[in-house]
Amino acid sequence: MIRTEFLCKSFGRLDVLKDISTEIKKGEVVAIIGPSGGGKSTFLRCLNLLEVPTRGRVYVDNVDITTPGVDIKKIRQNMGMVFQHFNLFPHKTVLENVTYGPCKVKHLSKADAEKLGLDLLSKVGLEQKAGVYPSRLSGGQKQRVAIARALAMQPEVMLFDEPTSALDPEMVKEVLDVMKELVRSGMTMAIVTHEMGFAREVANRILFLDSGRLAEDAPPDIFFTNPRSERACQFLEKVL
């Protein structure tokens, strides 16, 4: 589904990603964890070209999206993304946020888009908030709307960039529950997270990024009980 080959990203003289080669298969749930500044978010953002890699290749469905001339808009429609800070459109209502993509990008009729939007809002438990503006929502509710908005494009893969990091502790669960539901539906997911329990529970694979290197790529049981790398051992000692 998504494959990276020798992916490198530098900001000026700072090398954030160093030769990351890995693959996310269809239906797989991959958790990307590691210390702050290790390149997790940058890696995720390279997958839909929000960050343009300095070197290396990113293949989505065997299309190299780093070649010039690729219609990246078309590819992004197929890759939903959820951000740490939600990034809801503040001047649009909850329902308008969710229907904006289907209406304006996929050119669904307003009625069809609203039907889809309300359906998704009920899936994340926020049907009754359809008409309000995002500023009236709690952080957890905002993030659930953001998930619904991404799902409204009916993507094949969902990218989550620290979806619970900006939330108050008591709101984390409601967002994780929605994500677990998504896992059960068979969605392909890549999740940058600090929620180790969640990663262990839902992920098929853990990618451990440290100082821009893919230090470990293992199933959660092996990674959490018997990590190979020294750095992963240290990290797990601190967070578990």
Partner: protein, 240 residues
């Protein structure tokens, strides 16, 4: 020092009393009030048409300024420097007096005024709008990009509405400046409020009363505009 101050204020007081005693008589201009008030429509027409065209053109220029296509940015920057670097009354004179010489079309005062003020106002508001665009959280742009929204649509639907909301007070300032600067069309013979005040003054050979009256009308217009803008702004903030 103290003595100086007392002397000065005493003298001022005496002068004021003298002037009041001499010949201040607002009843003299009463018959001319309807004639002068007709200038309100002319002044407002100048202001509104110029503000709208200037705003639209300024928006286009601001998008040029943030463009990655350098020639567009150079053009917009150069344009702004010209209109900010020369006096407005000179710009008006060039357009009114010089265009006929250049293209053989005798431009009416209204057209000359609207063209000048629109072009000038666009130069100033393009800077304001550019600032407003840059102040919109970059997450908004990323959220739109991940939905696969094309750049022009993203600007129009997501970025500009938020930018305009942020800079509304600055745009009101720009309109107020425009309303007052529109008095410069009196120099090319348009019958605006200012010009009518001067005509009455010259006709009756009294200056204080008609000019004060005209000043009062300008003041009321500006205050009304400010009041309307404040109410409008409060309503827009309702979604925060």
């Amino acid at each position: 020092m103290v003595l100086d101050f007392v002397e000065l204020s005493l003298r001022d007081y005496a002068l004021l009393g003298q002037a009041t005693g001499l010949n201040l008589d607002f009843s003299k201009i009463v018959p001319n009030i309807p004639f002068m008030l007709q200038g309100v429509g002319v002044t407002l027409a100048f202001t509104i048409v110029s503000a709208l065209i200037g705003f639209a053109w300024g928006t286009i220029l601001s998008v040029f300024k943030i463009s990655t296509f350098k020639p567009l940015k150079w053009f917009a920057d150069f344009y702004t420097s010209i209109f900010r670097g020369t006096p407005l009354i000179l710009q008006l004179a060039i357009i009114y007096f010089s265009t006929p010489q250049l293209i053989g079309y005798a431009i009416p005062p209204f057209q000359a005024g609207v063209i000048t003020f629109s072009l000038n106002s666009a130069a100033y508001s393009s800077e304001t709008i550019r600032g407003g665009i840059l102040a919109v959280d970059k997450g908004q742009r990323e959220a739109a990009m991940t939905l696969g929204v094309a750049y022009p649509l993203m600007m129009w639907d997501i970025i500009l509405p938020q930018a305009f909301k942020n800079i509304l007070p600055a745009l009101v300032n720009e309109s107020i400046a425009l309303l007052k600067d529109s008095s410069l069309v009196s120099t090319v013979g348009a019958l605006d409020l200012m010009r009518r005040g001067q005509i009455v003054a010259a006709e009756k050979f009294i200056y204080f009363e008609p000019l004060i009256f005209v000043g009062l009308v300008y003041y009321v217009m500006v205050m009304t505009l400010t009041w309307v803008a404040q109410r409008f702004e409060r309503r827009m903030r309702a979604s925060d």
